[in-house]
């Protein structure tokens, strides 16, 4: 609670309903509006920029990833194509160079195979097959001489097209391999033969596994039907069907985003290898590729959160400060207005009082003279002079007139003091005047008023009306603070060369520590419900300051309160002194 109070701005508790016209503004609304407007105009551009930056960064990263994948795919395709192509060409060279006759010779064939193994690598065996499909010559680790291949697809294809590269298959030997075949026409007989070489897939696979793929990357070959031809790290065993769609034939590399059956996203590069039934697939997990993006996104988000927090703090701070200033200015204005109102009201009361007093004074003067005349008659004429009762009555009339005269004089004095002017003041008289306003109430409530004012207290120059108001307010406050039968002490003494100190001390209820700081604030009142305006002490404080004095308070709850006022003694202007002498 105390924490909230500390951070709560001053204007927050202003109750607009209670004092219409006192405050021009609804501070909380201004505050909210300012914060809202500032927030909107600052945060909207920030958010828009962040959003744009987010998208741009993401887009550039994505396109870079696509490019990288495409490049890897193309390079690998070139390597694979070169591998197959070079062996195909070697076979073609052998076929053309040697002719069917020499190839039929196993020794020659063996020599060729050995040199091909040596210079190219990857060759397993070499065989010559005639057009009926019978293997007429064979060199290799298997016993395949004389085997009949008639009716097999690759044979027909080779004979019609001239050269052929097969899928990877198990064949008779039950080991994954692929064959390349070349048609040879026997120059002598004009018959077609086929030179057939088997490539072991190990070297082939090595090309693919050598590709450096980050994270869960994968590179393998499928045939046109989607059957996996080389070992894949994640996409299934060899000869199984790949779980990704195979795009239509295209000469160039294409890169696509695909989702597998587990819902995982992949960036897939496809490349058809020309002249073979192979399609190269390079897979990269999209989430892996986008990892740098995660970092960037996090940074962006942090930046955004921190900026928003800072902006909001500054906005709230500035708005609170500004509205507080408006509030203070408005309060000052209200106080000034109130004081003006008060002065005006006092002025009209003063005029009224003066009029009444004047009207009453004339008839009072007549009564006075008449009674005086009667008294004179008693004194000078023998016949009445012994009638003591009549004389007493006349004296009583004169005394009453005198009392009335005092009242009208006080009224006139009151009226006179509305106008601001300074004059020398004898504090004893002033205190007596103030008390005379209140002594009826004091008597009624049996409150004892003690006055300790030294006779030699010097006069001081000040505004009588304002001083009256100050002490009237203080004594009134004291009255309200105490129960019947209390004591008030008014003391005065010269505090230094140039100042007088006055104290109004009561033994009333006292002021709690928490309230003491605020009692001079306007509109602070502990009696708001019972009609207190909270202005008495604030006006008093204002008046004391106006007269160049200072005011302080000491209080103990339950024991009483002492208000201390310090006033300067100004150098006595001669004119004021003269007026005092002649008029008073």
């Amino acid at each position: 609670m105390a924490m909230i109070d500390r951070f709560k701005p001053k204007f927050w508790d202003t109750d607009n309903a209670v004092s219409p016209g006192r405050s021009l503004f609804n501070y909380r609304r201004i505050w909210r509006l300012a914060i809202l407007l500032l927030t909107v105009v600052t945060l909207v551009p920030l958010l828009v920029l962040t959003f744009i930056d987010y998208n741009v960064t993401r887009y550039s990263l994505e396109s870079e990833n696509l490019m990288r994948t495409a490049r890897t795919t193309s390079n690998t395709r070139r390597t694979v194509a070169y591998f197959l192509n070079s062996r195909d060409k070697a076979l073609e060279f052998v076929a053309n160079q040697n002719g069917v006759d020499s190839l039929r010779n196993p020794a020659t064939l063996k020599g060729i195979l050995d040199s091909m193994k040596h210079s190219f690598g990857g060759f397993v065996d070499l065989g010559l097959i005639d057009s009926t499909g019978r293997q007429v010559a064979y060199i290799g680790p298997y016993q395949l001489l004389g085997r009949d291949y008639s009716g097999q697809e690759w044979l027909a294809n080779t004979l019609t097209r001239g050269s052929y590269t097969s899928d990877v298959f198990l064949g008779y030997r039950d080991v994954p391999h692929l064959i390349i075949a070349q048609r040879i026409t026997d120059a002598r007989t004009g018959k077609d033969y086929v030179l057939r070489a088997t490539l072991d897939t190990a070297q082939f696979n090595a090309i693919l596994s050598a590709i450096d793929l980050p994270g869960q990357g994968d590179a393998f070959i499928v045939n046109h039907h989607g059957v996996i031809q080389t070992p894949s790290r994640h996409r299934g065993a060899i000869f199984s069907h790949v779980d990704l769609p195979i795009p239509a034939y295209s000469e160039i590399t294409s890169v696509q985003q695909e989702t597998d059956r587990h819902g995982m996203e992949y960036t897939v590069g496809y490349a058809y290898i020309e002249g073979t039934p192979f399609i190269l697939l390079v897979l990269k997990k999209t989430s892996e590729l986008m990892k740098p993006w995660e970092t960037v996104r996090m940074e962006l988000l942090w930046m955004l959160v921190v900026s928003i927090a800072v902006i909001l703090m500054v906005i709230v701070g500035v708005a609170t400060y500004m509205v507080d200033k408006i509030y203070l200015a408005d309060q000052t204005r209200a106080r000034a207005l109130h004081q003006m109102e008060h002065t005006n009201r006092m002025a009209s009361i003063g005029r009224l009082a003066a009029g009444v007093a004047h009207e009453i004074n004339n008839p009072l003067a007549i009564i006075n003279e008449k009674a005086g005349l009667i008294k004179d008659l008693f004194r000078f004429k023998e016949e009445y002079s012994h009638d003591e009762r009549l004389l007493a009555n006349v004296d009583s009339i004169i005394a009453s007139v005198e009392r009335c005269g005092r009242i009208t004089k006080r009224l006139l004095g009151f009226a006179r003091h509305i106008d601001v002017h300074v004059e020398p003041i004898r504090f004893k008289h002033l205190a007596e005047e103030v008390i005379s306003f209140l002594h009826k109430e004091a008597e009624y409530r049996s409150i004892t008023i003690l006055m300790d004012i030294p006779e030699d207290l010097p006069d001081f120059i000040s505004d009588r009306g304002k001083l009256q108001q100050i002490f009237l307010n203080l004594v009134n406050n004291a009255f309200q603070a105490m129960s019947d039968g209390g004591h008030i002490a008014i003391t005065a003494h010269q505090a230094g060369g140039d100042t007088l100190t006055f104290e109004v001390k009561d033994d009333g209820c006292g002021i709690p520590e928490a309230d003491r700081k605020r009692i001079f604030d306007p509109f602070f009142s502990t009696k708001k419900k019972t009609g207190g305006t909270g202005l008495g002490l604030s006006i008093t404080y204002g008046l004391v300051q106006e007269l160049g004095g200072s005011m302080s308070v000491e209080s103990t709850v339950g024991k009483g309160t002492t208000f201390t006022i310090t006033m300067p003694i100004k150098a006595t202007p001669s004119e004021a002194r003269k007026n005092e002498d002649t008029v008073g």
């Binding site: 004074n361 004339n362 007549i366 006075n368 003279e369 004179d376 004089k409 002649t582």
Partner: protein
């Protein structure tokens, strides 16, 4: 020595009572109820003191005071008023009134003031006479 006093006030009752009381106290009192009468009275006779109400119909007390002071600067005027505003008092003093009293006034203090006024007047007259004598001595030095 009897003091010769002129009372100027618009209230008949007040005027009659006060004049009677002052006469009882051995003063020679004349009264004037209007400003016109007052001016006539001032013109026709010498007074030791004039007691003047500050508020009167016709001409107000301050104007009256001006007129009197213009014609007889040595005349001692005591202002008596029901409306004791400080401003009026200060102005009256500036115009040369001798004193300023508020109604209802105490007859004794009024009497005292009148006596003071007479003494002052005498002093002025004496000084004037002395001055005249000196004048005569200076100009006709034979």
């Amino acid at each position: 020595m009897t003091e010769k006093v002129l009372l100027i006030d618009d209230e008949v009752d007040f005027l009659e009572n006060l004049s009677e009381r002052m006469r009882v106290r051995g003063m020679d009192v004349s009264t004037a109820q209007t400003t016109d009468n007052a001016i006539d009275a001032v013109e026709s006779a010498e007074y030791d003191a004039i007691v003047l109400d500050l508020q009167m119909p016709g001409m107000n007390g301050i104007d009256m005071l001006k007129v009197i002071k213009e014609r007889h600067p040595e005349m001692q005027v005591i202002l008596l008023t029901g409306q004791a505003t400080l401003e009026a008092g200060i102005e009256a003093m500036k115009l040369g009134a001798m004193d300023f009293m508020e109604k209802p006034a105490d007859i004794n203090s009024l009497t005292e003031k009148i006596k003071k006024a007479q003494a002052k007047k005498m002093l002025i007259v004496e000084k004037k006479a002395e001055g005249k004598v000196k004048d005569i001595l200076a100009s006709k030095g034979w």
